[in-house]
Amino acid sequence: MTTTNVTTKSREELIEKFSKPEVISGSEILLRSLLLEGVDCVFGYPGGAVLYIYDAMHGNPDFNHLLTRHEQGAIHAADGYARASGKVGVCIATSGPGATNLVTGIATAYMDSVPMVVITGNVISTLIGTDAFQEADITGITMPITKHSYLVRDVEDLPRVIHEAFHIANSGRKGPVLIDIPKDVSAAKTLFKPVNEVSIRGYNPTVSPNKLQVDKMIKAIKEAKRPIILAGGGVVYSGAHEQLLEFVLKTEIPITTTLLGLGGFPSGNDLWLGMPGMHGTYTANTSIQKADLLINIGARFDDRVTGKLSGFAPLAKIVHIDIDPAEIGKNVHADIPIVGDVKTVLEVANQTATRANLADEWRQEVLASKKQHPFQYKDSDTELKPQWVVELIHETTNGDAIVTTDVGQHQMWAAQYYKFNKPRSWVTSGGLGTMGFGFPSAIGAQMANPDRLVVSINGDGGMQMCAQELAICAINNIPVKVVILNNQVLGMVRQWQELIHENRFSHIDLAGSPDFVKLAEAYGVKGFRATNKEESRKVWEEAMNHPGPAVVEFVVRRDENVYPMVAQGSTIDQMIMGDAE
């Protein structure tokens, strides 16, 4: 990758460089503060209200900014950067339309607890509230979808605000923080002194668990005959994958990981039952329903996981571990609540955790079920099956790629058929289910991991929501491999209309889509197409060997459905198994 013409300096070097007190503009303060926070890549789009900020970037040898082609591309890229690296993603947009174009991306990050600092310009302070040109109350608009926000009224506050914003975004339950900076504040000058401490009264996330509660869990494990672990995104976010593995090896409790938890536990491990929920495995779902102890580690009992809430895990005593106390008891009553950082909680638990000795029969039952009910599809030699394509991608990448997806059937097939063994290798919009996310998030993931293979799996629908970002892949040579599973329809909607609306296919036909190969080429990106297995193998290999970005369109069977499926309103063991079984 040849994007960075910027030499990343260490924080020490930067502090050295910036420690000389100097009168500089709010914009300079912003850039210097971002560098001091360790930000090495910012995604954004300029405009009137951020002119001073962009002026400060001009010729700045330290600052690395990627100009996307839409603010939505910038924010999803910042999100992908954060998810794939664990660092805070940063995005900059101008006031009004620039800021409102970020809303979907902010909501996406908020729902999935992704640490992000979003910087927007605003009109000059004296014009705020006058319906000035390109004015929008972006702090007001985003209040329900940010962890916190600031409207900076005084340039003196900037260093503190930026430092606080990074701290809030990346501690406790992570999330997006917005900083709205009026134009006059980014222009105003003051003496810059970096801020290194943060003290926010009343904000003190509980990291260490109550030991008594952990002991209760350990005791419950000893008594359980049919225990199960449900692990979620919290495992990945707190970096607890090693501790989780140790916990499972010690207790030998079967484990299921949610959509966002994929990669938080090695899929090759015998005790892993796959993903639960609407398109989860038969074994994960039935096991949850039979379990007498369910240990939720960093998952939030989303309705896509629980199905009909009143019938969820009806026999189980529930342990719920979460950094956010408000998650505990929100959807499912917790018999043993444990508030704390998942990694710290598991470290404490691992000191005394022992094998769930009464669960031998259960392990056998679960493992037998896992053998008996893998994900299945009817393969075909005449039509290309999307599941087969995902398997091909998995095989040829040895399961080592960072995979990002858009939203729809392809997302579920990617979750089902790509087997993840490492955390932060799976980037997908879970909570909000945002189409348009898949491709730009891959750009962020690649920027954060220049040396890893990044594959973005998209539908033909969602790809058209942010396709313009092919431009930045081309000019910056960001070598993302963009896969399009082209079924010519809004597949997931088609599936629901088939199964729930008696085949009344309303507005799902994507006729009029561009020739994706030509679209790629129009942007200067290499394009490939495959319509059968043989072509697929050949074309995919070529794309992988191509040093730059590539778009690979797989023309797949139109009417394929994702199975199993739990219809809304059903309990999760009421699965439609589909044509494979």
Binding site: P144, H148, R201, G202, Y203, A326
Partner: protein, 163 residues
């Protein structure tokens, strides 16, 4: 469904009322009354919110409020003995002939008359919500012109200071 009174100590920042009330709206929590004013400490305001819901809802209200960075402390006032007060101004019809009767009501409620016009009286009453409701009920027959209520403010009884 129970009535719950919570005190929320917040940073005295622009937008904080919007954050708190927005949270109630978005999560479907009911607000029966909300008051905000200065607290004992410079820079902090005290909000008092009366809401209805079951205990699970109350628990969620408190936990969700704590997620707001500007919220310093949430106190479930109704969990302990508390004093809660509301003030109302009631403009009631009072022709000279009806005045003695109206004043009788005012006296009984230990309310006071704060303005007199030819045909109306303005009554000020302080008390808990039930007392004010009752007062309004009793004045209704005379013809109420306007009512303005402050909403409930409250503190727990006793020596303990909660902050």
């Amino acid at each position: 469904m129970k009535k719950h009174t919570v005190a929320v100590i917040v940073n005295d920042q622009p937008g904080v009322l919007q954050r708190v009330s927005g949270l109630f709206g978005r999560r479907g929590f009911n607000i029966e009354s909300i008051t905000v004013g200065a607290s004992e400490e410079v820079g902090l305001s005290r909000m008092v919110i009366v809401s209805t819901g079951d205990d699970h809802t109350l628990e969620q209200i408190i936990k969700q409020l704590y997620k707001l960075i500007d919220v310093i402390k949430v106190i479930d006032l109704s969990a302990n003995a508390m004093v809660s007060r509301e003030l109302a101004l009631i403009k009631v019809n009072a022709e000279p002939s009806a005045r003695p009767e109206v004043l009788g009501v005012v006296d009984t409620f230990r309310a006071s008359v704060v303005d007199i016009a030819t045909n109306t009286l303005m009554v000020q009453v302080v008390g808990d919500t039930e007392k004010i409701d009752a007062m309004i009920e009793l004045l209704k027959p005379y013809g109420i012109r306007e009512v303005s209520r402050t909403g409930v403010t409250a503190l727990n009884r006793g020596n303990v200071s909660k902050l």
